[in-house]
């Protein structure tokens, strides 16, 4: 469903600040596969997300979504195929617009936008049905401005908006990192639910190792722009944080320097 072939990207090439963000990445996600990505700061996780979403263009290499070559497609065109939830709960919604208007914009992601009304009676009913699945009571607040919602509510709405049109790929970029623990738990549970319901092909970046182990059916670890560990199926289910750290030290022969990753 998502395939990266020999994707490399270097920032500030030829200068003192040269940084090889992605180094010959090869990655293949089957339809419905849910992959968690971990790695220390600067490992290339965010760059990986950005080249898939079209926010950045790789120097070399091909990217395929659903067998369609997309690496030269601009972000706004590619986002018809991709659902995204950002780390910042404020980033995924338009604050001065209402819940129903936000949902209407998400609903037309993969459709042609026209001069017909965005919020129709039919769509409203659909939105209410979807909002009910969040169990946050948002279905009764369709006309509330999104800016009035709490961070957790906004992130839950962002998650719904990113997924309910059944995108080919779902990208989650540390989407629970900016929330307090109880809200983060709620969003994690919702994420699991919604991915299972739609069978979404998902790539999730996280700093939280436990979360990376709990969620998904495949785990990859990145370091210095490379994928250094790729664990599937049964093997992943048996995995513990201890194993991951040991594995990392064995491959890299150095201390895992990221405090946040250890604490997670």
């Amino acid at each position: 469903m998502l395939r990266l072939r020999d994707v490399s990207m270097t920032f500030n090439e030829g200068t003192f600040d040269e940084k090889k963000a992605l180094l010959n990445i090869n990655l293949n996600l089957r339809e419905g596969e849910f992959v968690t990505v971990i790695g220390s700061n600067g490992a290339g996780k965010s760059t990986l997300m950005n080249v898939v979403s079209g926010n950045l263009f790789p120097d070399v290499g091909d990217i395929y979504i659903n067998k369609k070559q997309v690496q030269t497609l601009p972000e706004y065109k590619r986002s018809a195929l991709i659902g995204r939830v950002f780390q910042d709960p404020m980033a995924g919604t338009a604050p001065s617009m209402t819940i129903e208007e936000n949902l209407a914009m998400a609903y037309t992601r993969n459709k042609k936008r026209s001069l017909k009304l965005g919020v129709t009676k039919k769509r409203k009913e659909l939105f209410q049905d979807y909002l009910k699945t969040l169990n946050l009571g948002l279905e009764n607040r369709l006309k509330a401005k999104v800016g009035l919602l709490s961070g957790g509510e906004r992130q839950a709405l962002s998650l719904l908006m990113a997924t309910f049109t059944d995108p080919d790929i779902l990208l989650l970029d540390e989407h629970t990192a900016a929330l307090d623990p109880s809200r983060a738990e709620l969003i994690t549970a919702l994420t699991k639910e919604v991915i299972e319901e739609f069978g979404l092909t998902t790539l999730m970046v996280t700093h939280n190792m436990q979360q990376a182990l709990d969620l998904g059916d495949r785990l990859i670890m990145m370091d210095k722009g490379q994928i250094i560990l790729d664990i599937h199926g049964e093997e992943k289910k048996q995995l513990s944080i201890e194993d991951l750290l040991k594995e990392f030290q064995r491959i890299r022969g150095e201390q895992f320097e990221d405090d946040r990753a250890v604490l997670g």
């Binding site: 979403s53 972000e75 706004y76 065109k77 590619r78 986002s79 018809a80 991709i82 995204r84 950002f86 404020m90 980033a91 995924g92 919604t93 338009a94 604050p95 001065s96 617009m97 208007e101 209407a104 914009m105 998400a106 037309t108 992601r109 993969n110 936008r113 026209s114 001069l115 017909k116 009304l117 965005g118 919020v119 908006m161 990113a162």
Partner: protein, 327 residues
Amino acid sequence: MFYALFGAVESGIIYAIMALGVYLSFRVLDFPDLTVDGSFVTGAAVAVVMIVNGVPPVLASLFAAVAGFIAGCITGILHTKGKINALLSGILMMIALYSINLRIMGKSNISLSDTTLFKQVESKSFIQSIDTFVNNGLSSLGVTGLPKTWSIVIMMIFITLAIKLLIDYFLKTDIGLALRATGDNIKMIRSFSANTDTLIILGIGISNALVALSGGLIAQLGGFADAQMGVGMIIIGLASVIIGEALFGKKTIPRITLAVIGGAIIYRMVVTLALRVDFLETGDMKMITAVIVIAALVAPKIMSTRKEKKRRLEKQAILKKQRAGEV
């Protein structure tokens, strides 16, 4: 006095169309578009030159709007495709339009004869009989200084309200929602496959189409187009938006667009009244405008700071009393 205020309402309703355009760029798209100073004159120039050359005023007014749309689109292209800062792309277009407007007019000032949209309507016999009837009624009630015709005000109320309703509807369509989101959270709407470049170009185009239409109508009301008539127009538009929002609220879009129209009319009335003060001259108008905008921007902040201070002082006084009671 009544006549002066009537004149203010009459032109205020026409300027309201310009203010609605400014609302679209400044508020909806969050794009401080200074093209307005130029495109207002472009509208006036196109309308007047076409009318002088025998084009029917209705058609000439529509072409004025089209010219403004093109000017706005170019500003949008400069900003999105040329990656020029929003303010600067507007200023560049404004400067360029100054020369273009002179080219359109051929000289810096053109007067109109009797063929304008308003004079055409005014001279219809049934309108004249209505005017006579209303004025006779009012003068029998003792009102003096009555206007020659009511037709302009009434016609413009219909046109401006129609434009307002169209904007209200447009901003609720799928494209309109995407346009609003572009001004609200551009990263978000891009992730929902909206071409934000196109939306910005379209939005600034529509905004300037309204501004130019307003310019074309003002030229027909005053009977002339002048290369300088757009100076400070952006501030007048902004003043109308800010005054309207402050006085009439900004809860929903239909409310804001109505507030903007109200703001434009009130702005005209304030200026008219200010100019009746003895020591002020016509040339002071821009200064008055600047003062109004500054006041409208600063006053709410001062008021809320004062309120906050008062609230704290009261709480501190209560605490003091409690402590005194304990000791």
